[in-house]
Subunit: 478 residues, 2 copies
């Protein structure tokens, strides 16, 4: 009964996906709203997911030679406007500080929407010789973009992210770093978040303001809409020229540096929700779940049950599993639905009968599959259930993407698919901006990416019929 | 020669302590300046110190039940002004956002100088019953205070910190948490930063805007000036009343919550520099040093030397020591002074002769003491040297504080001491604001704290001669 009641509190996915999403972020205690419009409070349970994400990614970054730094959160207007394409992309959506205390500032400062300009100014100061290269810096911070419509994790005026900014001696090295970080992201999405991603390049229209090339990892949500998961940009040396970042090479020539930047954000938490969640709530991939297993005693007033539960807790904890014991006075049914809502991967039940047989029950969050497990085998069984669940989450998401990937060879066909279904639409493109705009207008979809290493599905542009060499994935996006 | 040259680049401490300080923060690559006035760039070496501080403190916090969250960086003016004393303390020194994109905001937003108001608004939403208490939240973030004069780490317009904000059922519990966190700070200062601290209470004049009581850990720098290291505040229930944070107690009565907050910041890095540094540069306490030992091969072109150095590196790394091997083509002399400047606790030298004897040389940064160590004993000897160095740093700082602590029984005496020396001046105080102001004016010092558990040094107020029960430490402060 208690279970029923709690589950009824969230909207069904099929009924209203958007409402289902906002119900989950609130009911799973991920976020709260405040009087600061368009910003969110990330609550302990949501923030613990972010801490796990940070820990895993930060370790991977450092393995590739990344060093962390902290730049000011403000950018003077004159600095922001130093690179033309960049400022055109960002100036319309920044927050401006105009007063310090009771004094009007001589020059207004924007709250960083991204920090290319600050990193470039710093690099110009500290890079003198080829011996100073490469520089591979990153920062974990919050950024601000003054969005008109906002949604928790997906689009908010302030969000948390990491931004890597690097400088290199050659174009080849910069390109290699751009791809390397894209691969770190792709690997993280697939292995730690259990989210399959497409790797590819953005069209010029969709690339980052000021970049030569933007690479992206794109994920498909349960409802068939796409989510840009993370991006890695190759800037060439335009910023370096604008900011005077040059080095004396071993041949005694002054040369400009080659630059990259790359970032992922709390948006990924939105991606986790919309990829794995169900009508009972959140479903968390084990690598980032704040609690990987919850131990729930059944008939806990009976002799030995709480002790047994405690023993299970101690065993799992000693094995390095993030575990919680809930021995509160709520009913087991209430607890079952509470931890389902919170997406805890495994529930471990123990009652008097289990105890007598030196057993317990492991229930998987994703498919509710129950296993009766000898307590002696608990750690191995829990770890097996966690990895099986991770694999199942990934496979389910991959299946969803396969089922929702379509191919169109004419514009008419593409428009029909776009009108009837949510998902990726594969189509050939000649490379002209005009065709991209026409298609976007006709089908109300945007180009997601030109995927790496995928075969063409034709040789004519879906839009103009001319020769086309580029395969593009189109879709509606968050 | 190389060593000499590098060392000459920094000002001597005794010549100009302020210049010595800024020389070190720059030459040890801790910070850089940018075009953002009053803000600093924390460079990789400086940020790595902060990451070590964060890791240690965050672990200690969590052991006491702290949960991390993230609040918006903006505070609407109406929210900031909800608690009268608080806004009077902070409004004059905040940065105001007045524009979002090209639109003027209906209500201006300040960039958080501290987040009591945001936490209170959130707590009012989520606390309903005594079962919801206590709430023990913390966030790691940056805050902004529009200071007129700034110095790296010590006072900058933006700085990094943690701010804990808690809500409790009873006044006793809130007081216990206030003291508990002060003790966590004191312990961290003494054990991890090797900085002895005074624990005590701020006078009403010096307490936090809106607090009932502010407790502080105060450290004395090498030059005899004081540094407020961290503070812990008991708010009683004034904010809770202003924000309507109340809970239904088990006796069915609605009651206001009792509140605390506590914080430490990147200021601590300034404290490390000014407590332990010397004329050769930084000296870092082992717990927070990014590199605990640097391995420097001598005559590295000779057969076996680099391999020997690599073996030492591998051995120390496997033992969990943060170690770096510098096999660059700079001279050993250059390397010696470079890592002295950076304050690396241990230098390990290995040359052909050492190698032949299966030995190496460990040199301590603080006193340059050399030990010739059998490679077989390396890990044990390195760990012993690290803990001996930590103890020596602490003792030296304690000795400095003892030598610079004075006692005054008349105002005249106090003024004379203050004019002639930098250090703590102990004196009795009646508790009246008027006397505090008079003394501050006459001697150009401020009250640092009323220390816990220290015996009185008289029974008359140093200022007015009336009965006095409070012992106060006075001093010039950063």
């Amino acid at each position: 009964m208690a279970e029923k009641k709690l589950v009824e509190q969230i909207t069904a996915m099929d009924e209203d996906f958007a409402k289902w999403y906002t119900d989950i972020v609130k009911k799973a205690d991920l976020i709260d709203y405040s009087s600061v419009k368009g910003c969110m409070i990330i609550r302990p349970y949501g923030y613990a997911i972010w801490e796990n994400i940070q820990r895993i990614l930060d370790t991977r970054f450092k393995e590739t030679g990344v060093e962390n730094v902290y730049m000011p959160m403000f950018i003077p207007e004159s600095l922001l406007t130093k690179e033309k394409e960049h400022v055109e992309g960002f100036a319309p959506e920044v927050a401006w500080v105009t007063m310090g205390g009771s004094e009007r500032l001589a020059e207004r400062l924007c709250v960083r929407p991204t920090s290319e300009t600050l990193f470039c100014e710093h690099y110009a100061n500290i890079i003198k010789s080829y011996r100073d290269l490469p520089k591979v810096y990153n920062q974990w911070c919050s950024v601000v973009r003054w969005e008109k419509t906002t949604r928790p994790f997906l689009r908010s005026r302030e969000f948390l992210w990491q931004e890597g900014h690097t400088m290199h001696r050659t174009a080849e090295e910069a390109e290699a770093r751009t791809v390397q970080m894209l691969n770190v992201y792709a690997d993280f999405f697939e292995k730690s978040l259990c989210i399959p991603v497409l790797k590819g390049q953005k069209t010029d229209k969709e690339k980052f303001a000021g970049a030569k090339a933007t690479y992206t990892v794109e994920a498909l949500m349960h409802d068939g809409k796409a989510l840009q998961g993370g991006t890695s940009h190759n800037f060439g040396c335009d910023f370096a020229k604008a900011f005077g970042i040059q080095f004396l090479d071993s041949d005694n020539q002054l040369k400009p540096c080659y630059q990259t930047s790359w970032g992922v954000s709390t948006r990924m938490i939105g991606g986790i929700i919309m990829t794995h969640g169900d009508d009972s709530g959140l479903v968390l991939p084990p690598d980032v779940a704040p609690i990987q297993a919850v131990v729930i005693p059944v008939q806990q007033h009976k002799e030995g049950v709480l002790e047994g539960a405690q023993r299970i807790y101690d065993t799992l904890k000693a094995a390095g599993i993030r575990v919680k014991l809930d021995d509160s006075d709520q009913s087991p049914g209430w607890k079952f639905s509470e931890y389902e809502m919170k997406g805890v991967p495994l529930r471990i039940e123990i009652g008097p009968r289990d105890l007598a047989e030196e057993k317990c029950v492991i229930v998987r969050r994703d498919n509710r599959q129950k296993s009766f497990v000898a307590i002696a085998d608990l750690v191995a069984e829990a770890n097996k259930n966690l990895s099986d669940l991770a694999e199942a989450l990934y496979n389910k998401a991959l299946e969803n993407r396969k089922n929702r990937t379509y191919t169109a060879s004419t514009l008419e066909e593409l428009v029909t698919i776009a009108n009837e279904k949510n998902g990726y639409i594969r189509a050939m493109w000649c490379g002209d901006l005009e065709c991209e705009l026409k298609l976007k207008e006709a089908a109300d979809v945007s180009s997601r990416c030109i995927p790496f290493g995928e075969e063409a599905c034709g040789d004519k542009c879906v839009c103009c019929g001319r020769e086309a060499k580029k395969l593009v994935y189109w879709g509606k996006a968050y």
